[in-house]
Symmetry: C2
Subunit: 472 residues, 2 copies
């Protein structure tokens, strides 16, 4: 199965990399006079093959393909995606790619594409669509659907409301199971099968959940209220989507009802939407930690990518210039013992990496909620103990190596002490910075690698040269 | 709902932090003569409350609680977990915690705990159980179950086989829907409802899937084969579990059949198991990148934590000593212009962080499969262009700052050039190292922050001092 997919994708890659295919397409676009007939025939065959292959793929695979080719070829592929799957492709693509594809599409095409989508999908897409097509698009929906889309639009992305689906199968609790069955038979199929039907009272408030098994194994005369399960875990539209995702993971949920602030059933959360969210968050964390805006894509335009890295480079430069000025203060000591300049990076560098190890642990602990306000002090104590132990050990090793290299006992002793102190500081900073960022309402991973290496460098130089000035 | 959970957990934390509760428990353990009667009554009340509260929690929440308290209190809580949920708690806990809890439990208790679990859960746990109880445990299972556990034990953790469940509801394709219905009614309930029933032929080969809706909306005389859906996506026991998880995410699956190499249906994969896997992998990536073994837990014993960090500290020390020896070769130049010692860390540090930005992008691209062999060269071109642009820009800024600080045009020029070259190198290394690690069959994130900062330091110093030696 996977091998077949790989083959289709490499054939597509092969096609779009052919000069003549690109030319044929450009020609078709601009409707210029054709070249020699033989050429044109092969070219059209290639384009037809491309269209066939692309539309044989699942929308998620088309999106992946679009992400992994450069912008020009992306447009070429995008123009061959069928209208009925184009909406799904847009939804699967990452934000910058989606925006690029939308910019390159005609408004009319986009309206047509959107009409193939469900309400919650339209709501997900609407923010990125050109403003001029939205009124038309909304007015083409039936009244109830229009209201649903409008209400979904009002939820910010971190809220459960933005991730829920609102095309749901719900029944009222006074119906008999036979009534439910004939209702289902009329519909023909449940939207997106998960085996659960939500139950409300006459006023639309959530009262329970019915499984399809309940329908199968109980007598038809029974009422829904008699066989339904009580509502277990449910969410409010304003709950944090990330917390909801953690609950899904922890309690192994597949689907959960969502209510508004009046306990009215307004939608359902599905595990597949939350899996996307979790993956997005995990990836963001990695980029954010390295000091990248979470929007950067592998093949973003060069100028955009370059600018995306500026804020952290600038901060980095500021910190390292401060560190540099600290070294400058010790010019006197360095000119007496030039070996100090060579040994300078050692403590700072080891400190930086030791700090990064602690940061990674703390960020993970915060994400999994294992680290909470009550056990912070405990963690500080543990990390300080580890740093004392490792500082003593690796300080001794480094001091000894220095002694061997420079035959200078005092210099070795300076290294030992500097290493020990820097590792202690690095542990404090490593625990402190993510917790501080979190307390400030920021992502605890935000630029941590720049901040940690910057801080340990500055302190590391100061400690090492300060000790050298005192001892040598 | 979440607030209630938080309250229960803080009350438990409060109880286990009381000295008298711990003492009462220790006394109960050692069955020493009681203290004054009044004391004993309160103490027993506290312990009873603790037991009540702990067992009111979901096993996943108990596991989280155990992870976030220090070892002594962990034992206290663990001893109050009811036998019927203890197995689920062990399965939810991380590897080191699970191993600790098992070490502290009696063999008899563990056997009793295991008997509350399903076959695939026993298989997950068996590796960590004491060897002496396994034969007894296996022989207490019915013959068929025993074989299932044995076969599950043979799959390595990265395989689909290790993550599948094998207590599945399957029917043969010649059965009528009425037969299926009465079979289900006899069972009373499907294990872990997802709305799907797997279909096999007489020989046990997978031939399709039946939804519960199919049962509800079709006539009972029809045969399963007439209404079932064809098998869409399925996995083999030896497939990579990570790939399976990506497919679940991409195609929004909830459940998928697993077959052995003879196409016999042997189990199912569920989205909840794979969500755990994805989360585990995302967290591992973060730790591995910082140079931590993925096993380290927030509250591991100090000596274990300290040792866990040694390999990368050692590598780091080796690299930075090499960098230091490079600086040492330029002693002459530094003693002439001591300012060089102060400026030394700047290029290396900026290069390191720029490299880390690229690494984060590349690791993400490899994980999402957006980066494949066909578009690597493209990425190298893009990243080199970004580095050219940013190198020129930030080189000029740094050169100008140096000029301002030291009133030395040549020194400013050295900084500009050094910055430019180091950023170019950092981009190459940032793209190259994760791809190389992946090609070597390693995790592309493995220790990347140590490797990148080490390499950019070494090169950064060499470039900066080399240019200084030529120009100054």
């Amino acid at each position: 199965m996977n091998k077949a997919l790989t083959q289709v994708i490499s054939r597509i890659q092969e096609l779009i990399n052919r000069q003549e295919v690109i030319e044929a397409w450009l020609q078709k676009q601009s409707q210029q006079p054709r070249q020699a007939l033989t050429d044109a025939v092969t070219q059209r065959q290639h384009l037809a093959e491309l269209e066939l292959l692309v539309n044989r793929l699942h929308p998620a695979d088309i999106a992946l393909l679009l992400e992994s080719v450069p912008p020009e070829q992306r447009t070429l592929i995008w123009n061959h995606v069928e209208q009925k799957s184009a909406g799904a492709v847009l939804l699967e693509a990452s934000d910058p790619i989606r925006q690029q594809l939308i910019r390159q599409s005609h408004s009319d095409d986009l309206s047509a594409v959107a009409r193939h989508l469900e309400n919650d999908e339209i709501a997900d897409l609407v923010h990125d669509l050109p403003k001029e097509i939205i009124p038309d698009l909304l007015s083409s929906l039936p009244g109830e659907d229009r209201d649903a889309v409008r209400s979904a639009l009002s939820f910010p992305e971190h809220c459960v409301g933005a991730w829920m689906e609102f095309d749901i199968t719900a029944v009222t609790q006074h119906m008999s199971l036979d009534n439910v069955l004939s209702k289902l038979r009329d519909q023909g199929e449940l939207p997106d099968n998960t085996g659960y039907i939500m139950v409300t009272d006459e006023a639309g408030s959530l009262t329970g959940m019915l499984t399809l098994e309940d329908l199968l194994i109980h007598q038809g005369q029974l009422s829904v209220a008699e066989v339904m399960s009580p509502v277990g875990i449910y969410f409010q539209t304003r709950d944090q989507a990330e917390d909801a995702a953690r609950s899904f993971e922890r309690y192994e949920l597949i689907i959960a009802p969502v209510v508004n602030s009046h306990n009215k059933l307004v939608g359902v959360l599905r595990v597949s939407a939350l899996m996307d969210l979790m993956d997005k968050l995990a990836q963001q964390k990695m980029l954010v930690q390295a000091g990248l805006s979470n929007e950067e894509n592998l093949f973003d335009p060069i100028s955009r990518s370059a600018r995306n890295r500026w804020p952290w480079i600038a901060l980095n430069l500021l910190i390292v210039f401060i560190a540099s000025q600290i070294i400058d203060q010790f010019e006197q000591v360095i000119s007496q013992t030039v070996a100090l300049a060579a040994l300078l990076p050692i403590t700072a560098n080891i400190g930086g990496n030791a700090g990064n190890q602690v940061v990674a642990l703390v960020i993970r602990g915060l994400a999994t909620q294992q680290l909470a306000p009550d056990n912070r002090l405990q963690l500080v104590r543990k990390e300080l103990s580890v740093a004392l132990l490792n500082g003593a050990l690796w300080g001794t090793i480094t001091g000894f190596l220095t002694l061997l290299l420079y035959q200078n006992i005092n210099l070795g002793f300076v290294m030992l002490l500097a290493m020990f102190c820097t590792m202690l500081f690095a542990a404090c900073i490593g625990v402190g910075i993510p917790i501080l960022l979190k307390a400030l309402g920021q992502d605890p991973a935000l630029g941590s690698s720049v901040i940690i290496t910057g801080t340990t460098d500055t302190l590391g130089f100061f400690i090492f040269l300060g000790l050298a000035a005192m001892i040598l």
